[in-house]
Subunit: 228 residues, 2 copies
């Protein structure tokens, strides 16, 4: 699988960037070090000036790739969802049992991310942390409707739709398939956040993972017994 992924490029809506960061060494350094720096100091404190210093390049050169730091965050989260979507599709594709397929999907989208060496300039473990801590800020803005129209969030929406379809395959009569699908993704991120910062607000831990909580929730809701 790693060999296979090596040649796959995550396709991101071109409106999100001014110049494709995958198209040059500088672009890749921008992506690589923005992940490290945002993880380190948080999105609020992150600036293109600091990133420029870090990669020994100039602030203005970064502006040639991304209009502002908000678009960079949209890019990074899109990349993450695209990467996760690939794993989801690849892993569940061959599973014919519908219940088992949905169970696997829940596991994939909610598990703690482990190193993936397929993309040398992206640290997926840190990117997952960024998605947990910062990604809400990419859509909780006054510009969300306009950016949604421009297709900034297509990959995320496709992820929700894939989960929704799997839910429908398991329980065609369930009324809230898309709400449940969006709740799986959102709650997964939230439970991971609570594990790190508000442990009294969650029962999840290394043993009882967010994935197990969500599998239990989903299959009871869909009236299917499943012993994952």
């Amino acid at each position: 699988m790693e060999q296979l992924l090596q040649s796959i490029k995550i396709a991101i809506n071109e409106k999100i960037f001014l110049k494709d960061p995958e198209s040059s060494a500088l672009g890749k350094r921008i992506v690589e070090h923005s992940i490290l720096l945002i993880d380190e100091i948080g999105f609020e404190s992150f600036t293109f000036k600091k990133l420029g210093d870090r990669i020994e390049s100039n602030e203005s050169s970064i502006y040639r790739y991304f209009e502002n730091k908000h678009k960079l965050l949209v890019y990074l989260t899109s990349w993450y969802w695209g990467w996760l979507e690939y794993q989801l599709v690849f892993t569940t594709n061959s599973i014919s049992n519908k219940t088992e397929k949905l169970a696997k999907a829940i596991e994939i989208v909610s598990r703690t991310v482990e190193e993936d060496n397929a993309y040398s300039h992206v640290n997926e473990v840190l990117l997952n942390k960024i998605v947990i801590n910062e990604s809400s800020k990419s859509f909780l803005t006054k510009e969300v409707d306009q950016e949604n129209k421009s297709g900034y969030f297509v990959i995320y929406k496709r992820m929700v739709n894939r989960l929704e379809q799997m839910i429908k395959e398991v329980s065609p009569d369930y009324r809230y398939s898309s709400s449940l699908a969006s709740t799986i993704l959102e709650s997964s991120l939230h439970q991971h956040f609570l594990m790190d910062h508000f442990p009294t607000l969650t029962n999840c831990n290394k043993k009882h993972t967010p994935g197990k909580f969500l599998a239990d929730l989903v299959f009871k809701t869909l009236n299917k017994t499943y012993n994952g």
Copy 2:
């Protein structure tokens, strides 16, 4: 109830403000108009200078009440959860049937807020919109652990705990009571957000409210039939 509430003050952790905004006319104007202005232009664009212009007061006077706009947001969301907690406790207190009590609680925390004239300087309808659109930003920061230690989020945590207790009353053996409780609150806000901006990612609408989705989810998960 309105008469009763009139005399109740929502108690907010004193570390969140420099001077209690409830203690003066200017303080109340700050709260009142910050809600209107944040709703209007969003938290990112909101500044104390703009608020000062709006209330015909000075930027530096606002700084006497709140250290920065982040603390003001923490204050507003705390106020909201305190207000909602009061409604929750008041409304569910007299219900002896445990299932019915939990059902009512879910309804209270997930319903669309309607006007409440008890607090003249707070527009609860707009504050609810702010909580949906901006409140995540109050804890998705690098300072969250330190602020949590200082008690900035106690009211929210108490809300989750109240829901958790109600869940335990209904199903003592359910393993994920606090995860489910935190999911109810988080998912409720998220489903309202999706209704407004990503209608394809939710089945919720005026008829099939987030409250109905969540009640269905919770009672199936807890193996209780309830026809709300």
